[in-house]
């Protein structure tokens, strides 16, 4: 008997329950209610986000698979393709950081190798609260160890990402993990249950009672001390089993024995069986008594809703079943035929000889509730106090303090814990504008970047979303690579709040406009709502993961100043902007607006220019100007190889603090040998990109003048000492973990 209370406990509204009864023409039983609850959770159904996600551009000449599958796939030529996606594991990571983050890595890897791709590289995009907040160092330490523990063991390099700290994340940290895999373009595998009579095979770890209703948990906000009660819904990762599963699947994909395959991720056996049948328009019959379980007495309800890790559901060709089972057994994995494909359009579940659920397949996903939730358009933050504030007295001191801030300081404390070299494809190690991995057997390489500035998004979600795309593209282009496509991972508060929904709509519109302007399609994505605690939502955080292609890895651009006497130029326009800057946060202790402007057409021209400058071999280095502004970007170029520069800026009406530390978008620092002093500005002019020659590389100091007055004069070695040690010192300081 389904009571109102049971419906509520399953996080279903009375209207949703009425819809269930209408679809079935009867009351569901408890197993069926659990299935609906999981499939219609925000996490699985995207019920609040779909109307907005539909507006994103998803097609392009290179797109082989857009959103809707385990991962997006893009053609990179030479018969090869890349599959990639980013996913969040926010809620579990806040409750149990090690396992939460570890299983986040495991989940995204399965999404990638399920498509038939061998995972090449992971990036992680992390948001934490203030390091001084309760539990925060414990969370940072646990998340980093979790990502390392899983990725290192399975042997997929983690090439960095980004890490941000702000008190707005004190109650909800974000763990977004992206993976990129390589596959043959004509061997893409999809999650489809086709061919009536074909066997449905369960492979991988046994099913346990862990993570039951994890997807539902991720669709609720935290309140008070609830993190303690929710512990049992966090799953435990087993990277060794995943390694076996990955190798077995990749071996299996060399055969033609597989019809379809899907990861048992969120909502486990429920989502995989219903989605595979739903996509193919078929049905399946599954005998739950055949599912390998960890303990006796597990009920059909628990088996269907478990989120035990490292499991896959696949459909094999009937005549090749033995071959399939043989490969899994070679890797010492459980692989069991648990059912078959039918033409019924229904998912029928048996247990102990009895039918325990009989549901139509397609309606569970196709007819899931779709909400165009009420929303309040966000008001962009107005200019803050900085507009009329006195200029700082010591700009060098400001630079040193910003370099030491956790957001800007070098994060080798984090990435030296990640194996970033396994597979021997890492051409540029973490710390550059984008990670670069070569494609063995070709001259090509991929540039990979994850990016969003949540501070900008908080001030203006539309611009923040657009800037995230533009900045990722700029970073990719600063390696000489051409942006190919993006995956998005949209982290927001509760969609039931009109303010949050307004932020979401605006951010998605910003992403959409930027993608159109820059001609970069969205091929996969993930939405994480309900990132709030006690009614306080995180800043809108639409993380963008972008992949770019370098046709010739030898022509890549690097970040550091490399040659004494090289000329330094600034591309793009510096405006009188300090809103959202690290300068304001670190020096003034405020998050004033407004969000910097963004000119998407100018960003597009800049990307095209960088790609052509790289192909022409004109540059010695390139670096995107972002967090911390021009002074920090120059310092980063200088510190990597300990090579200084003499810089003189002409800034017009821009105040010195904004010229040095403002975060105007659309800017890149380039260096080139004197022989190219005519060619580079000519190329910029032709491309329609503002160009300013600002100085020369050389000497032990970074000296920055505006007009004739020197504002910054710092020994590069001293800056590097601060920048490279500040974060480790903050983490290792003797206060509690």
């Amino acid at each position: 008997m389904i009571t109102e209370e049971l419906v509520r406990e399953h996080n279903l509204s009375p209207e949703e329950y009425a819809r269930i009864r209408k679809i079935l023409g009867r009351e569901p039983n408890l197993v069926e209610l659990g299935i609906f609850s999981a499939m219609w959770s925000e996490h699985c159904s995207y019920k609040s986000s779909r109307v907005h996600l539909k507006t994103l551009p998803t097609s392009g000449p290179r797109v082989l698979q857009g959103p809707g599958e385990n991962a997006g796939v893009v053609d990179i030529g030479d018969g090869l393709a890349v599959a990639f996606k980013m996913e969040s594991h926010n809620h579990p990571s806040y409750i149990e950081p090690y396992q939460g983050a570890a299983t986040g890595v495991g989940g995204i890897l399965r999404d990638i190798f399920t498509m038939g791709a061998r995972p090449l590289a992971s990036l992680d995009s992390l948001r934490f609260g203030a390091l001084s907040a309760p539990r925060m160092k414990h969370l940072v330490d646990g998340v980093v160890r979790g990502i390392a523990g899983y990725g290192n063991c399975i042997g997929i390099p983690t090439l960095g990402g980004e890490t941000t700290f702000h008190p707005a994340y004190d109650g909800n940290i974000l763990v977004n993990v992206m993976n990129v895999g390589l596959l043959a373009k004509d061997r893409i595998f999809r999650g489809r249950a086709e061919g009536a009579g074909n066997p449905v095979v369960y492979v991988g770890s046994k099913t346990g009672r862990d993570g039951i209703h994890g997807a539902t948990m991720a669709s609720e906000e935290f309140a008070g001390d609830e993190t303690k009660q929710k512990r049992p819904t966090v799953q435990v990762g087993d990277p060794f089993t995943e390694k076996l599963l990955m190798e077995a699947c990749l071996e299996l994909f060399q055969t033609d024995a597989v019809v379809g395959i899907q990861d048992m991720g969120a909502a486990g056996l429920t989502s995989s069986s219903f989605e595979m049948a739903g996509r193919a328009g078929s049905g399946v019959e599954i005998d739950l008594s055949k599912v390998p379980v960890r303990e006796e007495g597990m009920t059909p309800y628990e088996i269907m809703l478990s989120e035990s890790q490292e499991r896959m559901l696949l459909v094999a060709r009937r005549d090749r079943l033995d071959e399939v089972l043989g490969i899994f057994h070679k890797w010492e994995l459980d692989a069991v035929e648990i059912g078959k494909v039918t033409n019924s359009g229904r998912v029928v579940l048996f247990f102990g000889g009895k039918i325990v659920a009989d549901l139509p397949a397609a309606p569970l996903s196709d007819e899931a509730p779709l909400y165009d939730r009420p929303r309040v358009a966000p008001t962009p933050a107005p200019p803050g106090k900085w507009v009329s504030e006195a200029e700082p007295s010591d700009y060098g001191d400001c630079l040193r303090r910003i370099l030491a801030s956790p957001n800007v300081a070098e994060k080798s404390w984090i990435w030296t814990q990640y194996d970033h070299m396994v597979q021997t494809n890492t051409v540029e190690r973490p710390g550059g504008d984008a990670a670069i991995v070569r494609i063995k057997g070709t001259s090509k390489a991929l540039a990979i970047k994850s990016d969003v500035n949540p501070f900008f998004c908080a001030l203006d979600p539309y611009r923040g979303g657009a800037i995230a795309v533009a900045e990722a593209a700029r970073s990719i282009a600063c390696t000489g690579a051409r942006p190919l496509a993006i995956t998005d991972c949209l982290n927001f508060g509760s969609p039931e709040k009109p303010e949050v929904m307004g932020q979401f709509e605006a951010a998605v519109r910003g992403i959409s406009d930027a993608c159109r302007a820059l001609e970069i399609p969205v091929v996969s994505g993930n939405v994480s709502f309900y990132n709030e605690t006690d009614g306080r939502a995180i800043p809108p955080t639409p993380t963008i993961g972008m992949v770019g292609l370098l046709d010739d890895v030898e022509k890549r651009l690097r970040l550091p100043f490399r040659r004494d006497g090289d000329l330094v130029a600034l591309l793009g326009t510096t405006r009188d902007e300090l809103g959202g800057s690290e300068f304001l946060r670190t020096i003034r202790g405020r998050d004033d607006g407004p969000c910097p402007e963004v000119d998407l057409d100018a960003e597009h021209r800049l990307v095209e220019l960088m790609v052509s400058l790289a192909q022409g071999g004109l540059l010695d280095s390139a670096h995107d100007v972002s967090d911390g502004g021009l002074a920090v970007a120059l310092a980063e170029c200088a510190m990597k190889k300990g090579m200084g520069a003499e810089i003189a800026l002409e800034v017009g009406g821009v105040r010195p603090s904004a010229a040095l530390f403002g975060e105007s978008t659309g800017r890149v620092i380039v260096t080139y040998p004197p022989e190219a002093q005519a060619a580079v500005p000519a190329a910029a002019k032709k491309a329609g990109v503002p160009f300013a020659h600002i100085g020369r590389v050389g000497g032990p100091a970074l000296r920055v003048a505006i007009g004739k007055k020197v504002f910054i004069d710092e020994k590069v070695a001293a800056l590097a000492q601060i920048w490279t040690t500040a974060f480790a010192e903050a983490m290792e300081a003797a206060d509690v973990l």
Binding site: C153, G155, K243, L244, Q417, D419, H420
Partner: protein
């Protein structure tokens, strides 16, 4: 010249070693699955890096029971060159083909970064092309590289010149600050009494091509090719 690359289920640098042998050195190379006992006529055996059996217990503790390890032991006893890299070194220790054991790094964290090594023994088949006493840069990537052994074993290793690589700074000084994991006497790699079995924690397989920014490790593979050509 043929390399056998042993593959435990959790090996993850097997393909990296294969790439060097086959694509860079143009040698024959074959994977040998841990259940197999036939080394397929190989002239050299490599135990690659990774997490042989997940290493939830202790790195390499289960791998030594694999059927292939009996064949590797016999191959080593007959003087065949065997190289254990990182997890492969851990397996060689657990299997008793090299003395000593690994503990968790003294920083209690996984460490992936470049270190400097002093090449202290150029008599082995894997180091003969290096200059004696030269300093080379190689990356490490491990959680358990804190080498330890009883005092008499450490003495014997030093006396018999069986310390092949020692952690040092860029100038070659074996300081404590240059030791990334706390290994006894700064030991990064050792060999057996015959010199034909070498194990090291750093990854020569990750620095064998200029494109990756460093090719200092390539000589280890070229050394064994040249050693066998001489023989």
């Amino acid at each position: 010249m043929k390399f056998a690359i042993v593959v435990f289920p959790g090996s993850n640098c097997d393909q990296d070693c294969y790439h060097i042998a086959k694509d860079l050195l143009d040698c024959e190379a074959e994977y040998v699955w841990h259940h197999e006992t036939d080394l397929k006529g190989a002239d050299t055996v490599i135990l690659p890096g990774g997490f042989a059996y997940g290493d939830y217990l202790r790195a390499g503790a289960l791998a030594r029971f694999s059927p292939v390890m009996d064949s590797v032991a016999k191959f080593a006893k007959d003087g065949g060159p065997v190289l254990g890299i990182c997890n492969g070194f851990q397996v060689l220790l657990e299997a008793g083909l090299l003395p000593g054991a690994m503990r968790v790094n003294r920083g209690l964290r996984y460490v992936c970064r470049d270190v400097f090594l002093k090449v202290e023994n150029v008599e082995t088949p894997f180091t003969r092309l290096y200059e004696p006493g030269s300093v080379v840069k190689m990356p490490i990537g491990h959680m358990e590289g804190n080498y330890t052994a009883p005092p008499d074993v450490l003495d014997a290793l030093a006396r018999e010149k069986r310390i092949v690589f020692r952690y040092c700074d860029a100038k070659g000084a074996a300081t404590d600050a240059a030791n990334p994991n706390g290994a006894a006497n700064g030991i990064a790699g050792i060999c057996n009494a015959g010199g034909n079995v070498v194990g090291l924690m750093p990854h020569p397989d990750r620095c064998a091509e200029g494109l990756l920014g460093n090719d200092a490790g390539r000589k280890m593979f070229e050394s064994v090719v040249s050693a066998l050509a001489v023989r």
